[in-house]
């Protein structure tokens, strides 16, 4: 899947240029063609990353005191910062709780929608709707669901005799509430990828398997799931990145509270850098986030590349 998303490029066997001059020219032209992309990449990706790293080694300039080199002091402070650890822990719980659930739900929905059922087009649209909505809007909808007493959830709860509950205001449920929102929003998006991949699997494979006596589950386990592996990898990478990257709902629904229970790493960075204006510490935390994302992406590709069947 990840592969088929990229435009398929035919690679003709590279012809050797006739002479040295030609080689030189071809090389130069190639570099010139790459230049705009390289400049953009350097200016907006590589330079900020390096600058952030450098910032994390300096103190935050305050009033009359300019920034000065402090070595690893910021990192030392970070290790002693309980809120940092809390946000990291929250983020881990959040990622582990939302990613498998969203992916599993996406897969089940895709299999369901892909089957021969009536109103298939409408169902697809229904499942895709959460994806089209901006996270801010989604968060607002759910904010209503979670409202104590008046909210949809409590109203339904009342029918069954349950009392009012402050879902977002309680330490024990706030993070879970955010996780539900995330799963709801992400699953529809991932489903579209699974659906596209499922349509690539020739129906004749299912027919052959049916004649060979394979049951539904056996066919899923031996054929469908392995053939969906590239999609799963693609979706997984996206899900992990999103788990660390999207905090809109935290901003709208809880602002990290109550008592840091929904403090995710990126939201904490935002608070440190833009509410407390401690830019150096913000840079330090950002380096941690970058390191996590890089490690996760690298690990996934190294691990899965061996096990994924690319057609």
């Amino acid at each position: 899947m990840a592969e088929s998303l990229a435009p398929s490029v035919d690679r003709p066997s590279t012809r050797r240029p006739a002479g040295r001059a030609a080689a030189g020219q071809g090389g130069l032209a190639g570099w010139l063609l790459l230049l705009p992309a390289a400049v953009l990449l350097a200016a907006f990706t590589h330079y900020p990353a390096v600058a952030t790293f450098l910032h994390s080694l300096y103190s935050t300039p305050r009033g009359s005191r300019p920034a000065h080199f402090v070595g690893l002091d910021n990192y030392q402070a970070m290790i002693q910062d309980p809120v940092f650890w809390q946000s990291l822990w929250n983020n881990a719980v959040y990622a582990l709780g939302t990613i498998p659930a969203a992916i599993a739900l996406a897969l089940v929905m895709a299999l369901w929608v892909n089957g021969r059922i009536r109103g298939r087009g409408l169902l697809r649209l229904a499942y895709f709707t959460p994806t089209v909505l901006p996270m801010i809007a989604v968060a607002n909808i759910w904010l209503f669901f979670y409202t104590p007493d008046y909210g949809l959830i409590d109203q339904v709860g009342h029918l069954f005799g349950a009392g009012a509950h402050n879902w977002l205001g309680s330490r024990s449920t706030a993070l879970a509430c955010l996780m539900v929102v995330t799963v709801w929003k992400e699953a529809g998006f991932f489903m579209i990828f699974y659906l596209a991949a499922l349509q690539q699997i020739a129906p004749v494979l299912g027919e052959a398997a049916a004649i060979e006596g394979a049951g539904r589950w056996y066919f899923f386990r031996r054929v469908t799931f392995p053939l969906l592996m590239p999609t799963t990898l693609f979706v997984l990478v996206n899900a992990v990145i999103n788990a660390f990257r999207v905090v809109d709902h935290v901003v709208v629904m809880t602002r990290g509270g109550p008592d840091n229970a929904t403090e995710l790493l990126l939201f904490y960075i935002y608070e440190v850098a833009f509410k407390f204006w401690d830019t150096a510490y913000g840079a330090t935390l950002t380096m941690v986030l970058l390191a996590i994302l890089a490690a996760v992406a690298l690990g996934q590709f190294l691990y899965f590349d061996k096990r994924v069947h690319y057609r």
Binding site: I211, E212, A214, R222, V223
Partner: protein
């Protein structure tokens, strides 16, 4: 007991009848070919037998058992698809054993069957490869292997050779036939290639627009086509069909003055002649006067296109004959080689219908 029996099986898609009251049987251990032009319902018939589609009306019996309501897995058959339907992520061995693993056949038994299939099909060195690393012919063999190891008494094949080149198709044709005979399985084989059908089949079922046109052994299909459609479909070039008209002394080829072919009227009838049964008439012989339209020299013989009255016919003439267009030729044929069809019903009219069909020469002798 018949290996397969279809009773009045029909399948409708919207307005169109893909399969229309099809009834036939296949003897155990025989190779029966479903032959017909594109869209005539061959694949649909096969899929109805496999259980991949549900019949609208009628019954399907396999080994005397009514399987009409059973799912494909319980019909005790194997199938080879035109596209092979190999699982791209599984190795050759896993592909071949897919069904046995699904049916929980014991490991040692699986190994035994795999070894035998690999030996039969010459797949020994390829068992660890993925389908993508095989040639078309090798993929074809893997698909055959999967059908063989199932050890089902009935095997269905839907145009299994159509993706191969002509040379390989020839080889595989023989190989499949030999395999079918040595394993003693009943094989129902779909093709639109009449050469394939004629060379492999014990029996050919010729289909047209969802109906069975003729169900016969290859030789009979060739020698006694039951309808105009069968006459036109079999043979390269196919049988010539010359419309007849009433003449003064009997039926004549439409647009000619004679000679009369048989006593009685010719209106609404057509004379069928295989190209290779027509010969040049000797100087003393009576014959049908024709004009040469074109000649195609093929080495051993030539195919000469002729016009006789309103009819055109192709004849296969031995030797190095190079007639020029416009040249007149008189042709004749043995009486037994002539076929007569009713143009309105499209059916064959036998001598039993009261018409004694003679050759031009014999009649006048």
């Amino acid at each position: 007991m018949q290996a397969i029996r279809l009773e009045e099986v029909s399948k409708q898609w919207g307005e169109a009848r893909a399969v229309d009251r099809v009834t036939f049987e296949a003897e155990p251990g025989s190779l029966v070919v479903l032959l017909g032009p594109s869209g005539c319902g061959k694949s649909t018939t096969l899929r109805l037998i496999a259980g991949l589609e549900q019949v609208d009306t009628g019954r399907v019996l396999i080994d005397g058992r009514d399987v009409t309501a059973l799912p494909p897995s319980q019909r005790r058959l194997a199938m080879v698809f035109q596209s092979y339907a190999l699982f791209p992520h599984l190795s050759v061995a896993e592909n071949i054993l897919f069904g046995l693993t699904a049916r929980r056949v014991a490991r040692t038994e699986r190994a035994r069957r795999l070894a035998r299939a690999a030996e039969l099909l010459g797949l020994g060195g390829l068992l660890e490869r993925k389908p993508g690393q095989l040639s078309g012919g090798q993929q074809q063999r893997v698909a055959l292997g999967r059908a063989i190891v199932a050890e089902q008494p009935l095997c269905l094949m839907d145009e299994p050779l159509s993706n191969l080149d002509a040379q390989l198709r020839q080889e595989m044709r023989h190989e499949i036939r030999a395999l079918q005979q040595s394993l003693g399985m009943t094989l129902l084989y779909v093709t639109h290639d009449q050469a394939e059908a004629m060379s492999m089949a014990d029996r050919v079922i010729l289909m047209n627009q969802g109906r069975i046109e003729q169900d016969a052994a290859p030789a009979e299909l060739y020698d006694r086509p039951a309808s105009l459609f069968a006459a036109r479909f079999i043979g390269t070039p196919p049988m010539n069909l010359l419309p007849l008209a009433d003449g003064p002394g009997g039926a004549v080829v439409r647009g000619t003055a004679g000679p009369p072919l048989f006593a009685g009227g010719g209106e609404g009838l057509a004379l069928g002649l295989r190209p290779e049964t027509v010969t040049l008439a000797g100087a003393a012989e009576e014959g049908l006067a024709t004009e040469v339209l074109a000649a195609e020299y093929l080495g051993a013989d030539s195919i000469v296109a002729l016009r006789a009255g309103e009819a055109r016919l192709s004849v296969r003439l031995a030797g190095r004959i190079r007639p020029q267009p416009g040249e007149p030729l008189r042709v004749t044929w043995p009486g037994a080689a002539a076929h007569l069809f009713d143009l309105s019903t499209g059916r064959r009219l036998d001598e039993a219908a009261g018409i004694r069909l003679g050759a031009v020469r014999r009649r006048l002798a």
